[in-house]
Each structure stands twice: as structure tokens, then as C-alpha cells.
Subunit: 112 residues, 2 copies
Amino acid sequence: MKRKSNLTSAEQIEVFGAPDEDALFDMAELFKVFADSTRIRILYAMFETELNVSQICDKVEMTISAVSHQLRLLKQAKLVRCRREGRKAYYMLADDHVKTIIGMAKEHIEEE
Amino acid sequence: MKRKSNLTSAEQIEVFGAPDEDALFDMAELFKVFADSTRIRILYAMFETELNVSQICDKVEMTISAVSHQLRLLKQAKLVRCRREGRKAYYMLADDHVKTIIGMAKEHIEEE
DNA sequence: TGAATAGTTGAACAATTATTCAACTATGAT
DNA sequence: ATCATAGTTGAATAATTGTTCAACTATTCA
């Protein structure tokens, strides 16, 4: 895996507003999360309302295990949050960034 | 490579505004282009002004070949355009989507 | 024409990643 | 305690991808 830079903060000089290596790395990591159509489908499934894992599986037609693996990535990226209720785990979008970022992409691909 | 769906357009029924498989695939493809910190660096290099390939190489400290490969991907995704002048090829951002999409990501990672 | 500069392209290799499978934890009901 | 439900996790495999290298095209200059 490409690593974050190990420069000291003094060496991470910002020129012309270009982000430092760590920020570039984090941005790329965030985009990687969106860079898979099954994950985007999982996110869309939660657009209207929170869902538990089984409900998500039904919506996106994937195994529980596969969905659970992907939800972990989405949670790590802080794109979804999780609420436990008995044995069920309800997932929901963490904030509006998801919708905005996906919206931007949709706009770009729709322009011819 | 995961393929676009081969359903007929009649079968691609949109429910609840969720995009069809082809649109999801295209969005994921677009995000893949952003999902690499060297490509984001290349895009940032062009934020202020167009640059030829050698100038980009100097800015991002990569070989001509590596940069050229990445520029092809960026061009395919319609994120950059290319203008030839003699033996030099000047690359520039295709439109404002690049800045907007990167801006969204920057916002998300900066929020703790 | 030949040499130099600027960039592109295909093949190969290493690294990353998505899904499957099996084993596991946690909660609730009997 | 036992069983079923709900979900998580680690290992393994197959597929994808970023960089390098070498060979190539295209343009300019002498």
C-alpha cells in the first residue's frame, strides 16, 4: 500500500494551496471507497432511510458477508454510521457529503 | 473487469431515483480515476494553468511514461483536455467538475 | 536525410482489492 | 443451557491496477 508521507510537519510546506501528501493520500482513500459500483449501490439503498444489514442485502442482492465487509469500509471512511437495536445493526448515511459527492459524479457522467 | 449491465433499456427500470447499473458503473469508473493520489497531484498541477507533459513530470516528480499513462486515463474520463503545439502536448482541466469534486472530498476529510 | 526532442504505447511485474467460505461473537427466545 | 437469528471477521483466490522498461510515432532542426 502506498503510505502517507513521513515528512515532519515543518517539511510539509503548502505551496499555492496544493494539499500536502497526507491530505492527497486521504482524498484518494476516500475516492477509493466510492470507486466500486456495489458500494455506491449500498449507499443509495440508505438514501431514504436507515436499514439493517439483511435489508441492505435484499436491496443490493449480495451475501451478508460481502455487504458486511463493504459496510466496514464505509464506516471507516465515515460515510455511514451504525446503530444497534437488539441483534440488528441499522446503518445510515453519516452526513450529506455522500449525496453531494455522488451528485457531482452523476452530473459529470450525464454531461454527454 | 466488472462489466456494464447487458439488460435491454426496457429492463433497466429506475425505482426511487436510484440510477441503473450502467450509471452506477460509470460513476464508479469516474471515482476510480480520482482514487489515486498521484493522479490527484497531476490534476492539482493543472489547477492554475495548462502544462505540457514534461512540466507536469517536474511538478509531480514522476517519469514521463508514468505521467503519460495517467494522462490517458484522465483524458478518457474527460477530466482533462489536450492541445498540441509543435512537439509539445499541453494538458488542462476539462471543466470545473474536477475542482468541485476534489473540493467536496477535501471538505469531508477535513471534518475530523 | 539524420539526429534530437516530446510524448505514446504494450507487456510484465508487484501490489491492491472484492468476493467467497468457514468459523466466529452476540443477542433473544425456549 | 440450547438453539436460532443477525452480523462480523480472517484467510484464500481471482481480478484489477500503477509503475517500469523498451520500443515506438511525431515533430523540429541542421
